[in-house]
């Protein structure tokens, strides 16, 4: 579905992504884990067209999307839930959802958009209660739901999620992750998930990649990564403490 080949991305002179290659299959949940500053968000922003890679190729469903502008890439069926939610605070929840469907036009689109809004309310009942409220006045977890629902309103084939658990209470985090799993199971949405919360991400993902200072270091099934000693030590906090005595 999505294939990245030898992607190199720079911020000015800083080489952020170094020969990153990965692939995501139809209907998979794939996690990308790594520390702060490893290049996780840059990787998502490169896929979304917010930063252009200096070299390499990105293709989605067979068509080359390298270097396309961000709004074109949404039309290609890739939608991102950005880090820190980035919802439209002064607009109502409903307006945020409607803007999510901004690029869906044509005959019958209005009806399908209304159906999808109903679907979002079903998935996140809290948003239905608060549909007329300004999105900026919602709690962090609710804002994250708005961000996910807004991204889904473009009816994407591939959903990119940047740190959906950031700054949220553990209970809200599991609610969000359950919603993501349900998306894949019920709507066959492919999900690429970036997380610092590696344990949570690998619990729901089918496969994972580990990124360190801009390079992909490990890849494999979630089970494999959870059992890999290197990954455990660096990201899962299962370091065996030396005993002094």
């Amino acid at each position: 579905m999505l294939i990245l080949k030898n992607i190199n991305t720079f911020y000015g002179d800083i080489h952020v992504l170094k020969n990153v290659s990965l692939h995501i299959g139809q209907g998979e949940i794939v996690a990308l884990i790594g520390a702060n500053g490893a290049g996780k968000s840059t990787l998502l922003n490169t896929i979304s067209g917010i930063v252009a890679p200096r070299s390499g190729r990105i293709s989605c469903g067979g068509s080359d999307i390298t270097g396309m502008s961000a709004d074109r890439i949404v039309r290609e069926g890739i939608s991102q839930v950005p880090e820190g939610r980035q919802i439209f605070g002064p607009l109502s929840v409903l307006d945020n959802l409607r803007l999510g469907a901004y690029c869906r036009r044509g005959s019958g689109a209005a009806q399908r958009i209304d159906d999808d809004i109903a679907l979002m309310y079903e998935m996140f009942p809290r948003l239905h209660e608060r549909r007329e409220q300004l999105a900026g006045t919602l709690s962090g977890g609710e804002q994250q739901m708005v961000a996910i629902a807004r991204a889904l309103m473009s009816a994407p084939r591939l959903l990119l999620l940047d740190e959906p658990s950031m700054g949220l209470a553990p209970m809200v985090v599991s609610e969000i992750f359950r919603a993501i799993a349900r998306l894949r199971d019920q709507h066959a949405t492919t999900v690429f998930l970036v997380e610092q919360n590696a344990k949570m991400a690998l619990k729901y993902a089918d496969r994972g990649y580990v990124i360190e200072t801009g390079k992909i270091m490990f890849e494999g099934s979630s089970q494999y990564l959870l059992e890999n000693h290197e990954v455990q030590r660096a990201y899962l906090g299962r370091q065996k403490k030396p005993i002094w005595e």
């Binding site: 979304s48 067209g49 917010i50 502008s69 961000a70 709004d71 949404v74 039309r75 939608s79 991102q80 950005p82 980035q86 919802i87 439209f88 605070g89 002064p90 607009l91 307006d95 409607r98 803007l99 999510g100 901004y102 690029c103 300004l134 900026g136 807004r150 991204a151 309103m153 473009s154």
Partner: protein, 297 residues
């Protein structure tokens, strides 16, 4: 003339000129919200509106309604062309550079207007005659009511556009967060184009309505732009309601200052009020409410 009729007279004069400032201020805000730019060519759109209208009605004998619509359309296209030629081709330009470009644009518009129409002043017939209306001893020109009416129409159209249409909401989304807007598929560059076109159109409407009572010439844009900028800043940059209230306020203060003190001090009064308000409330009159903090238009 009694004091009451004088006050009413000055009030109406002030509201008339204030409506123009308000429309120019709205133009500043639309572009500022979409791009973060202060468009220093804003006053030139007002001048161009008046000049194009004069040209269309004298050279082609167009009737007033057709001339009005066509002039607004032409200046709207000029605004759009300005964006496409001067702003659009730049890749990730800093805001300061963009502002300097708009300054250059204003000089070019002014120069072009001088070459096309010369340095003389032009006038237009009043929209519906010059027979003044009398209200408690004050005389009010019908044109003044036209100007106030056009401001109200512009405000109503903008309110509808920003609150009830998807492109309007998309424009607000761009002003809140351009990156997130592009992530939902909004073409931010096209929104910038739309903002320039709309600002130019509103400026042109103001210029056409204003020309019959003040005369228009090639270099009138700068001062109108400055007053409109005062309205935008005084109201809280980016706040539409603020710009309208502040524009009317500046117009009324100017008019009372000119009437009761001296017309020499007209501009000083407006700028003095701006300075004092900004010293006390740097965010402008409407700039600190919670909605404004969330960067509401």
């Amino acid at each position: 003339m009694s004091l009451l009729s004088q006050i009413i007279q000055f009030l109406f004069t002030g509201l008339t000129i204030g409506s123009i400032y308000a429309m120019v201020g709205l133009g500043f805000n639309i572009i500022y919200n979409a791009t973060g730019i202060i468009n220093f060519a804003q006053g030139e759109f007002v001048m161009l509106g008046g000049m194009v209208m004069v040209w269309l009605t004298t050279a082609f004998n167009l009737p007033l309604p057709a001339g009005f619509l066509l002039s607004v359309l032409i200046v709207t296209c000029i605004g759009a062309a300005f964006e496409r030629l001067a702003i659009f081709p730049l890749k990730k330009p800093p805001v300061l550079i963009l502002i300097i470009i708009t300054l250059a644009g204003s000089i070019i518009f002014k120069g072009a207007a001088m070459l096309l129409w010369g340095k003389q002043t032009y006038s237009l017939p009043h929209f519906s005659g010059e027979e003044p209306l009398h209200l408690l001893g004050a005389t009010i020109l019908p044109q003044a009511l036209w100007i106030i009416g056009i401001l109200m129409a512009v405000v109503a159209l903008l309110a509808f556009f920003f609150n009830f249409t998807i492109p309007g909401k998309a424009m607000r989304a761009c002003s809140v967060n351009p990156v997130a807007a592009s992530l939902v598929g909004i073409n931010v560059k096209r929104i910038v184009l739309l903002s320039f076109a709309m600002s130019a159109g509103i400026g042109a409407a103001a210029g056409i309505a204003f020309t019959p009572i003040v005369l228009m010439e090639f270099d009138r844009g700068a001062l109108l732009g400055l007053k409109g900028f005062c309205a935008a800043v005084l109201g809280g940059l980016g706040n539409g309601t603020g710009a309208v209230i502040a524009g009317l306020l500046i117009g009324v203060l100017e008019s009372f200052g000119a009437g009761f003190i001296s017309s020499e001090y007209k501009d000083a009064i407006a700028l003095g009020v701006l300075l004092i308000v900004l010293l006390v409330r740097p965010s402008g009159l409407m700039g600190s409410r919670e909605a404004a903090r969330l960067k509401e238009f």
